[in-house]
C-alpha cells in the first residue's frame, strides 16, 4: 500500500480551504520531492499552518486533493498518519501526566514496541532525559515543545511536519533541532516546516515555498541563493487572507 516509488513525498492539488467567509487556501498546488527539507514562508494568515493541518489530517480541505508518498489523505488517514510526524503550534500533551507517561501513552496509540528503549533514545535526542519523570505542567513551553518533538519522532515517520518548531526554543535547542533536521535529510526522509525566522529557515532548507493569499507565489530550489527574491516576495505586513466573493 505504501508507494515507496512515489514521485513526490507530499503533493497537494488545487487545495481550497475557507473558514466562514475567509478564504485561507485558494487553489494551492504544491509538490515536494522525497528527501528534501522544505520551508514554507509567508505572512500571518497566508495558510501555512492550515496547509500543515490538512496534511496532518486534522482538518479537511473544502476541495482539492492531497497525498503523502502517493497515498490520498482522504482515503487512508490512519496510514498517512503513520507515515507522518507532526509538531504543530500546541504541544498537545497531558499536563497532569509525566513526560514518560505521555510518551508511553502515545507509543501505545502508535502501537510501538520496545517502548522504554524508544523513550530513552528520543528523550536523549531532544534533550529531555533529565525531565522524563516530571509532570508536563512543570515544564517550560520550550521543554514541552521538545517532548512534542520526541512524540512526533518516536515512530520514525518518513515525513516530518513542523509548524514553527523553533518557537519557544533556546539557542541550544534550535541547534539540536537543526541537527535533527539534517539527520532526517541525510536518511532520505522529508521535512516540511513553517517558520517566521525566515533567514534561518532559508539556511537549512533545500527548497523554499512562499505563500501569499493562500497560493504559492514563489518556489526556489536554492533558497540560500534566492534569498533576496524570497525576502522580497515574503512580506509579513502583507494582507494575506481575503474575504470570499459573496454570491447573490
Amino acid at each position: 500500500m505504501v508507494t515507496t516509488a512515489a514521485r513526490f513525498a507530499i503533493e497537494a492539488r488545487s487545495i481550497i480551504k475557507n473558514f466562514g467567509d475567509t478564504a485561507v487556501l485558494r487553489g494551492l498546488d504544491l509538490s515536494i520531492p522525497p528527501g528534501e527539507v522544505t520551508v514554507l514562508v509567508g505572512a500571518n494568515g497566508t495558510g501555512k499552518s492550515t496547509l500543515l493541518r490538512i496534511l496532518a489530517t486534522l482538518t479537511k480541505a473544502d476541495s482539492g486533493s492531497a497525498s503523502v508518498v502517493g497515498i490520498d489523505l482522504a482515503e487512508n488517514g490512519p496510514l498517512v498518519r503513520g507515515l507522518t510526524g507532526s509538531v504543530l503550534h500546541a504541544p498537545m500533551l497531558y499536563s497532569d501526566m509525566t513526560v514518560r507517561e505521555n510518551l508511553m501513552f502515545f507509543a501505545a496509540l502508535y502501537r510501538l514496541s520496545n517502548v522504554d528503549d524508544l523513550i530513552e533514545r528520543f528523550a536523549n535526542k531532544v534533550g529531555i532525559e533529565s525531565r522524563l519523570d516530571d509532570r508536563v505542567r512543570t515544564l517550560s513551553h520550550g521543554f514541552q515543545k521538545r517532548v512534542a518533538l520526541a512524540r512526533a519522532l518516536m515512530h520514525e515517520p518518513r515525513i516530518l511536519l513542523l509548524d514553527e518548531p523553533e518557537s519557544g526554543l533556546d539557542a541550544v535547542s534550535v541547534g539540536r533541532l537543526d541537527d535533527l533536521i539534517d539527520e532526517y535529510r541525510s536518511s532520505g526522509r522529508t521535512v516540511l516546516m513553517t517558520t517566521h525566522v525566515v533567514e534561518h529557515g532559508l539556511e537549512i532548507a533545500d527548497r523554499a515555498v512562499v505563500l501569499t493569499g493562500g497560493v504559492v507565489v514563489l518556489e526556489s530550489t536554492s533558497p540560500a541563493l534566492d534569498r533576496a527574491s524570497i525576502l522580497a516576495e515574503y512580506s509579513p505586513t502583507r494582507e494575506s487572507t481575503t474575504k470570499r466573493d459573496r454570491r447573490p
Binding site: 479537511k60 504543530l88 500546541a90 497531558y94 497532569d96 501505545a108 496509540l109
Partner: protein
Amino acid sequence: MRDSLAVVWSIGRKDLLLEVRNKEIIVAIAGFALLVLVIFTFAVDLNQANARLVGPGVLWAAVAFAGIVGLNRAFALEVEGNTLEGLMLAPISRDLIYLGKALGIFLFLAVALMVVLPVFAVLFNLIVFRWEMLAISFLTIIGFSAVGTLFAAMSVRVRAREVMLPLLFLPVVTPLIMTAVESTAHLVNGRSWSDMSQWLQLAVAFDVVFLVVSAFIFQHILED
C-alpha cells in the same frame, strides 16, 4: 482486533489515570447525584411504598443529570490542552478514539455508581444489591457513555456547551432512562427476571445501535 482493543484500553486507562490525579469528574458526578438523592429524601415521605414508587426514578434521574456534569468535563479537558488533536494525529481509526473516550466515561460513571448505589439503598431502604441491578446499571451506563461521548464531542467547541449538552443528550437517552427506571422498579418490587427482561432487551438494543451510529458520526465531527 487485539491492537484496536489495546488502543481503546490505553485511552480509557489514560482518562482514569488523569481522573485519579485530578479527582474532578467522578467527584462531580457522585457528589451531584448524592445531593439529588438527599434532597428527595426530604421532599418525599419515604415510607416503603413511596420509596418503591419514586426511588427508581429518583436514582436514574440523579445519575443522568450528574452524568452531564462529568461528560462536559471529560471532553473539555481534551480541548483545553489541545490533546484531542494529539489523539487525532495517531495512526488509528477515529472510531477507536470514540470508543476509548466512551470507555473512560463508562469507568467514571461506574465508579460514581458504586458510591451512589449504597447511599441510595440506605436512604430509600431498598434492596438493590442483586446481580440484576448489576445488569441494569451496566447496560444503562454503556448507553449513557455511548450517547454522551458523541454529544460531548459535538458540543465541546460550542460556546454555550453547558446548555447545549443537556439539550442534546437528555432527549436521546430518555428511552434508556425509562428502561432503567422500569427495570429497577421491577427489581425493588420483587418481580421476576422475566418481567424485567424485556426492558433489558430494549437497553441492549439501545446500546448496540448508539455505539455503532455514534462511532460512525464521531469520525466526522472531529474534523472541521
